[in-house]
């Protein structure tokens, strides 16, 4: 179980670093927004595995809250990319 969990952690960390590469590299704002959205989704999975391995279920609460905040943030950024104000 420990080795299995370690392999899953390494795989998800590799995903996080690939997303961070794309966030840093750009080249345009939508690229970064996509990478932030994907990073949020990967971290939700990471929190779930962490909760399973440690046996503490508050990690799943963290995952739910992270999914909600990531979705709202992505929608706000997409609205910003469209070049309109937030009122209309």
């Amino acid at each position: 179980m420990e080795t299995f969990a370690l392999l899953i952690y390494i795989g998800l960390l590799a995903c996080c670093f690939l997303c961070l590469y794309r966030i840093g590299r750009g080249p345009s704002a939508p690229d970064r927004t996509v990478a932030i959205d994907i990073l949020g989704t990967v971290i939700v999975g990471f929190c779930a595995v962490l909760g399973l391995v440690t046996g503490k279920d508050f990690y799943l609460n963290v995952a739910l809250a992270w999914a909600l905040l990531s979705f709202i943030g992505t929608i706000a950024l997409a609205k910003f990319l469209e070049g309109r104000s937030f009122d209309d």
Binding site: I8, C15, A35, I38, G45, A48, L52, D57, A78, L81
Partner: protein, 109 residues
Amino acid sequence: MIDIIGYILMVIGVLFDIFGCIGLVRFPDVYNRLQAATKCVTLGTVALLVGVALTSGWSPMSAKAVICAVFILITSPTAAHAIAKGAYAGGVELWEKSVVDKYAEEVEK
């Protein structure tokens, strides 16, 4: 038995996540990256969460994992659609070897 199915689902999920993130790094423009990364990572994370739910048995953890999986399944494509629309309206060009742009005809009408 159900534990083994859960572990297999978790491995499949992590593999899909890695492939999606490789697509995010390797593909040439925003729209390609968006479709590769969003589809693969949505499936991968949902498989991971369902694997966690199956492995942890009847517990609050498994209920929360299922709720989280349904939420990701609904919101992730919505966010991708919003980003694609925003990027197009914001004037991001397609890759120069793209062959078709149906949305441009739709916008001109």
